[in-house]
Amino acid sequence: MNLLYLAYRNMVSKPLNMVLSLVLLVLSVSLVTFVLQLGKQLNGQMDKNIAPVDMVVGAKGSPLQLVLSSVLHIDVPTGNIKLGEAESIKNHPFVGSAISVSYGDNYKGYRILGTEPSYLDNYGVVLSAGGPFERPFEIVAGNTVAKKLGLQIGDKITSSHGLAAAGGESHDDNPYTIVGILEPSGTVVDQLLICDLQSVWDAHANHGGEEHEEDEKHEEGEHDHEEHDHDQEGHDHKEHEGGEEVHDEANSTGQDLEDHDDELEITSLLVKFKSPLGLVQLPRFINENTNMQAALPGFEIQRLMGFLGSGVKTINGIAFAILFVSGFSIFISLLKTIRERRQELALLRTYGLGTRKLLFLVLFEGLLLALIGFWLGWVFGRLALVLASGYIESGYGYVLQLNGPDLPELLLFGVTLVIAIIAVLLASTSIFKLNISKTLADV
């Protein structure tokens, strides 16, 4: 029989006394931990998603939209850009790698992304089964997509026009074949179906006019070959002539390509810089001198988080206000129980317990309440995260993980304990003034 047990029995013998305090505590803790986790995980995922991309080049419009659509794949694209113009950027000496992406179709709500094989290398994603896409209409499925839709190697899927699952015409005539399934990467790649650029062009060429024949598609394929050759030439040129001239040179190459084929377009170009100078010079150059725009994912996401940050701060502010109200409520409840148990406390004094021990008794009760409240609140916060995860995953393709307590949550735990201790100390002043004789003689 120790004080801790007595405190516990005291608490459970009159649970209604503490219910309000507990509810408030649970509410505030769950709110804070939920918002903390959500922000942290979304930030972490976004950072991971934008890390392989220093700059996005796409059609003019909102830079944020360009980043959201082409890097994070949660918005519609700003438009298309000419492949030729994009190719010209690739040759700039400050550019380390540049990957074309093109999209516009989906399969059951998951985006089909036409790109180059190096896209996967950039995200460091490897195949868990099957092989890479090598020919048009071969497709590699991101891990989440494959799992959610139960896709197997060799499955044929038909894409639908548009980026949303509902509506959109389906391209029944051109089914894709699943040739590979990717390992989970914790990035946006998990949510994508990835094929080569040609597939996307072909799908839309066909979509545009039903009369187009197989032959024509072949022709287009050949055109593509030509471009590639051309590109190589341009590249060689550049190396010979040095960086300064590249702009003109590249532009003229682009011009050439446009002449070759007006219709070949991509959605955007994902650029990784070779030199930090690229970050300084290229975006401005592109925005001022071409009819494309360059957006920096890091900067845009930071800006977006700036907008969201005030919302998060507001919610946290409310949660902390509730936490303090909960502390006040603990104070009131303890004050009430101390008053009700005045005679029991006096009795304990006659048993030889000093005032300090009585203080511990009340302290244990307050701390027990804080512990239970924090634990329940933490659990509820995580439950909310599970609920939100389902919603966010279907809407944005982000998967929220259930983590153990992290540092900010431990700090919150500390704050909760401190508030409980202060409430106990304020409530227990009457213990020091307890008149045993009078209290015990009162009926």
């Binding site: 029989m1 120790n2 029995r9 004094r349 006659t350 048993y351 030889g352 000093g354 005032t355």
Partner: protein, 211 residues
């Protein structure tokens, strides 16, 4: 034979109220004392003074060779816990604990003595065995009376102060309770000081003072 309780010139005055003067008391260890007096002469006050839960205005109280008027609050708490047993006129228990847990709690302070055998033995002698797992609020008046006797004696105090232990009892139960008290006190080797206005008790004690 050592002196268990010894008072000299004991006085108490309530702030702005009644003043009491008490006759000197000398009680040897293992002897019993009956303090008789009508209502309002300060019987409960005397008991509270002797057990150190009320500080005397003047005079000295020596219990078991300790001058308790010289002890500070903490020293008094410890002294009372170790050497004194109290049986109150109104029963006081920890309501959130059951009968057995109340007894264990009293055994535990100030020194931890988890003497289960003693607990069971005293419960058996006082007829509380069937109620050990019951809540104290479920006990009858008589059972509560016996539990408070058990609580006053379970920790083997040197001296037990009982305040009107028989006031609510009929003649038969009055005799029973006094007998139980005396038997238990003798088993523990404790002195017993009973403060009452109940004339029925007088026949049981030779050592008496009247306030």
């Amino acid at each position: 034979m050592t002196e268990m309780v010894k008072t000299e010139g004991l006085q108490f005055k309530y702030p702005g109220g009644q003043a009491f003067e008490f006759p000197d008391i000398i009680l040897n260890s293992q002897e019993h004392l009956l303090v008789l007096g009508p209502s309002g002469v300060g019987k409960t006050t005397l008991l509270h003074l002797l057990s150190g839960i009320l500080p005397a205005s003047s005079g000295s109280i020596v219990i078991n060779e300790t001058e308790i008027t010289a002890l500070d609050r903490k020293g008094l708490d410890l002294f009372r816990g170790a050497y004194v047993g109290l049986i109150f006129q109104q029963y006081h228990f920890i309501k959130s604990l059951n009968v057995d847990e109340n007894l264990r709690l009293r055994q535990n302070f100030p020194k931890k003595t988890m003497d289960k055998e003693r607990r069971l033995a005293i419960a058996e002698r006082l007829g509380l065995t069937p109620y050990l797992k019951k809540k104290v609020t479920q006990l009858s008046q008589g059972q509560q009376q016996r539990l408070s006797i058990a609580l006053g004696l379970i920790h083997r105090p040197q001296v037990v102060f009982a305040d009107e232990p028989t006031s609510n009892l009929d003649d038969f139960n009055c005799d029973q309770v006094i007998k139980l008290l005396k038997d238990e006190a003798e088993l523990c080797g404790s002195s017993l000081v009973i403060i009452t206005h109940d004339q029925r008790v007088t026949q049981h004690f030779s050592n008496q003072i009247v306030l």
